[in-house]
Amino acid sequence: MPNLIQTQNLTFTYHAAESGALGTPSAAAPVLREINLTIQRGTFVAVVGANGSGKSTLAKLFNGILLPSGGKVYVDGMDTLDEATILEVRRRIGLVFQNPDNQIVSTPVEDDVAFAPENLGVPPAEIRQRVDDALKAVGMYDLRRHAPHLLSGGQKQRVAIAGVIAMRPECIVLDEPTAMLDPIGRREVLDTVRRLNAEHGITIVLITHHMSECIDADHLVVMSEGEIVMDDTPKAVFTQADRLTELGLTVPPTTALLHELRKSGVDVPVDALTINACAEAIYKTFP
């Protein structure tokens, strides 16, 4: 089955009891409306949207932490509403959250990474193997005996990713994993995520509001007020810079520069995303 995650007319409303408290949106208005989204195996999908666009809620619906108010979410053909398969859904779709401190359950590092396979009832010898593999995959093997609270933000977030990899998931959904990190930590995490996608073939869904993190995604989904407004390649999305600005989103600096040049009458292409491609495009226009 090529489709790993599929949503059908997915709608979600917080119950009155859950809303209001701890900063969740107020009742009545659905947080997500009629979402039809397909995520294919092995791809790198970025989801962007302004605050309150419903992107974090969408992440929690993917692995059945939240259940749809209307419509369906299928993971490898399994309905997240089916209690019999919910553990298998959660094993296949790993979630990584914004604050690494609040998702690390144990100390030292290797005991934390072992948490998920222990829950899954994996035999001890295999847990050891999985923990070592996961820590090597995120480059934290040398620090396996460290206490997590003594690590840097980027290292903690990589431990959190290792904790999810130890489940041997098909897909990792990261909900603004870099929001609380400094630039170095941010690069560490993004490089790790890209490597997991390229070398280990793990499907990645990266939820973010940093446009520059979306440049090398295969697909870019733009959300606004609980709906998907664009779903295309990053190139195609960024050519509509005005539309993005309207939605309260910024475009990457390269795209912004090309758009400005174009507005002032210089004939440059607007779909060069990386710094090198952008420089090339400008160079070609002014020989």
């Binding site: 959250f97 359950v105 144990s106 100390t107 290797e110 005991d111 829950n119 001890p124 847990i127 999810v164």
Partner: protein
């Protein structure tokens, strides 16, 4: 001062004490505490001190670390010492105003302070050398029989391990909030006891709110990692009694027997 709190922290190492089965260590702490409170003269106390010294040496826990852990207890220790020194009846050697200090008083004060220090050090060695997960696995295994009378043993032990895990995080957070409040003119250090306690309110409220939010996020993260209670859970580090555990057990029994023997014979 907050940084001195090392309660429940684990310091990785690879000594014989680190490698002992957590159940052995928990039992040994119980035996040690019973022996410590049975010991009531200089000789038995000296035996206890030798034992503690041996364990510290074997575990290679830095003495500085143990002493730092004691720092938050300084006030309690001082009060205990002083009260015992002044309030123990006996022939006064020094007396001034209404205070009488007797030889018995000094002896009792020193004795009690040493006992408390040794008690705290002994229990610290347990948490310093045992990862929280092993500690809770050990406790869960020891309390296993209680499951039969429907005590939620797994839930209790997982709560304990989360508490241990979050001690450093919450200490860090308290420090941050304190700095933020100080920057806005809060005063935690002057005034009488009542005033100082009142100054803690703007510290505790944000701390509690953030703790609840953390708990909420932690629960979601745990569920996302397939946590579904203790049923069907396996462990990376299986618990296994080895020869060293048997030897440690024998040492513990000998220690307790020696101390009880000394007390009874006297």
């Amino acid at each position: 001062m907050l940084r001195d709190i090392t309660l429940g922290q684990y310091f990785p190492g690879d000594t014989v004490v680190h490698r002992l089965d957590p159940r052995t260590k928990i039992c040994m702490v119980v035996v040690y505490l019973v022996a410590l409170f049975t010991a009531n003269d200089a000789v038995s106390m000296a035996i206890m001190a030798c034992f503690l010294g041996l364990v510290i040496a074997l575990s290679r826990v830095k003495l500085r670390l143990l002493l730092r852990g004691l720092r938050p207890l300084l006030i309690i220790l001082t009060i205990t010492g002083l009260l015992n020194m002044f309030l123990t009846p006996g022939e006064p050697i020094v007396s001034f105003w209404v205070f009488n200090i007797s030889a018995e008083g000094i002896y009792r004060a020193v004795f009690l302070v040493v006992r408390i220090v040794m008690m705290v050090m002994g229990t610290f060695i347990l948490t310093y050398t045992t990862p929280p997960m092993s500690l809770t696995d050990g406790l869960e295994s020891l309390m296993g029989p209680l499951k039969r009378i429907r005590v939620p043993v797994h839930e209790l032990t997982i709560i304990m391990s989360m508490a241990l895990r979050f001690i450093p995080t919450l200490i860090e957070e308290t420090d941050k909030i304190m700095s933020a409040q100080k920057a806005r003119g809060a005063d935690f250090e002057t005034g009488n006891l009542f005033k100082r306690a009142k100054a803690l309110i703007p510290l505790l409220i944000p701390l509690f709110i953030s703790a609840f939010r953390r708990a909420d996020e932690l629960a979601v993260a745990m569920e996302s990692r397939c946590y579904h209670g203790g049923e069907g859970r396996t462990r990376m580090r299986g618990l296994k009694f080895r020869r060293r555990d048997a030897l440690t057990g024998l040492t513990g029994a000998a220690l307790l027997a020696a101390v009880i023997g000394l007390v009874v014979l006297r």
